[in-house]
Symmetry: C2
Subunit: 351 residues, 2 copies
């Protein structure tokens, strides 16, 4: 679960978000915006990976027909990502967007959002207000007395006030930064300022996979552990499927939601007498096909297993040229090193 | 910085740990324990990567001479990792260990530690008490009224009490689990139970790189953001250099310490008109050689850069077939796509 239960629940297509619903996993399409088939193929891969809501950028009006085609055929609700041009936002709603993401700071000011609010209300879809450090409202950007998190949070809260004052309440808010602690501090402020608004969390421009996983997992981990965050996107400069796999891995690590198998594997040390790295990677790749949240342990020696991994569904503790397979901490068989992976998979099937 | 300043500072070789010292980066050797040259070569690679303290397993007495050779020639302080046999611990101290890591739960009971305490005290080296779920003291393991974090923390605190009652105070404590929230909860309890003892934090058996980074960064990120942790090891089923790079990346993400360049790169989306993934990876690999904590931004479009990355030392915002290079948010030149990487590197050198 996760998130703050007192937030107002919104619906993105048939996906409930906020109000105590499970933390929803999102990603964003990177296929060319003029190629419906490429985007739909990417959506299929994302849906297989466990993505629940997908976002698509609409760079210009001419891309609206393709966006409409994608919305029509997509198995996942599609969010329209619109910048600079309120007319595109209106077109996206008409084309079937399940949600809109706009930044009032770069779409022509608050007045320009009024027709968007009206159209979204009429269509019954929520709007995410997405604020970021790069397009802060000028009035706040100039304030030397505020920290960046204070500026971001206050700016987002102002937009929410304006939307609500105009009768629009189906709101989700994000205020991402690429700096992890700026992101954390901003969302903590938002959680206080906007107790009833679902929050979309993420660290933006987190970088390529290695650095991006660390920045996202630490920042979003801190927030989710504090109950902050109703939906997340882990932004990586990588294929969007990796973002989804990372999001599920993080939610499982925090005991919020489970979808994927979990591999418990020790770092090797001088005690290890098998090629553990190769073994762990092979088990990992065999597990990848398994859409079950099982825990599998691959341990290099008897110091760490089976005791250390007693909560694993299945595991192996390796010795010299062999391995002892255990189930829930109880040894079930001893096999040669070359049979370890097959033995683990057999035991998993028998579970 | 980081850690709880009121902890008693210990010294591992010439590295200060606890008492307000910076959070120290550790890793563990995986070379065969009977090959001094292989271990020393690994230590050199680890030192280059920024490792500050390194641990070596000593599986049996016959490995003590090699351990001694490694201690003698190592540029980093070497911690002896000993299980099951108090005699090996004594041998390791004699061989020149800069610190000892033992688990009183598997070394023959508390009484067996007394000669170790005496020898460590005489040698002037600290001891890490490393407790883990796999080798909990029987008395605690059987207690149905306690959670696993409570058992781990109480068991570690008992050992500390025993050490201190016997006049030994140069103590570091760890109590790792492979479950992230168990680890977090255990260290929160330890921070309360042991206000004066430096803590070595880590999520154990975190798995291969992708999952391991997420589990470690979320768990240790939560702890470090709460001020808990005086030294860390990120355990990965990968080369130890990756553990060190991950640790530095995490410390930088949390604004605790900086050593490496940071790449701010956006996830691509439909707006992007260059091959951003390839570009980001090339910049990343060129930056890897640079041991300077510069911030470099590689942005796919004008929506996100330069505004979003105004705090980057150097950055590029890409358009169709070209890029605009900016320095601290101010545009300095426009270059063709093929020249982007070289232009960034030139600007970095001119910084």
């Amino acid at each position: 679960m996760g998130g703050r239960p007192q937030t107002r629940q919104v619906h993105v297509g048939d996906v409930a978000l906020g109000g105590g619903a499970p933390v929803i996993v999102q990603s964003m399409l990177s296929a060319p915006p003029d190629d419906a088939q490429a985007n739909l193929a990417q959506i299929d891969r994302l849906a297989d990976a466990g993505c629940e809501v997908v976002r698509m950028a609409i760079p210009s009006k001419k891309h609206l027909p393709v966006f409409g085609e994608v919305c029509e055929a997509s198995p996942l609700p599609v969010v329209a990502d619109v910048h600079f041009d309120a007319a595109i936002a209106l077109g996206a709603i008409e084309a079937g967007a399940a949600k809109l993401r706009i930044n009032p700071g770069n779409i022509g000011g608050l007045e320009a959002t009024l027709p968007i609010l009206e159209a979204a209300h009429h269509a019954g879809i929520p709007i995410r207000i997405g604020v970021n450090a790069g397009s802060l409202d000028d009035a706040y950007a100039a304030r030397a007395d505020l920290t960046l998190p204070e500026k971001l949070a206050a700016s987002a809260a102002d937009y929410v006030d304006f939307f609500e004052a105009n009768g629009f309440f189906d709101i989700v808010v994000s205020a991402k930064a690429h700096d992890v602690m700026t992101t954390v501090e901003t969302y903590r402020l938002l959680a206080n300022l906007l107790p009833h608004t679902p929050l979309h969390i993420g660290v933006t421009e987190a970088g390529t996979t290695f650095q991006g996983l660390i920045k996202s997992a630490s920042g979003l981990g801190i927030l989710l552990a504090e109950g902050i965050g109703d939906t997340l996107r882990i932004s990586l400069t990588d294929e969007p499927e990796a973002e989804v796999r990372a999001a599920w891995t993080l939610l499982a690590a925090l005991n919020l939601r489970r979808r994927l198998p979990e591999l418990i594997s020790c770092p090797t040390c001088g005690r290890c007498q098998v090629n553990l790295m190769a073994l762990a990677r092979e088990v990992e790749s065999r597990l990848a096909a398994l859409n079950k949240p099982v825990k599998v342990a691959v341990m290099g020696c008897v110091v760490n297993g089976p005791g250390e991994a007693a909560d694993a569904d299945i595991g192996v503790a390796c010795g010299k040229g062999s391995g002892v397979v255990f189930r829930h901490g109880t040894i079930v068989r001893k096999v040669a090193e070359s049979d370890i992976v097959n033995a683990l998979m057999e035991e998993l099937e028998n579970l």
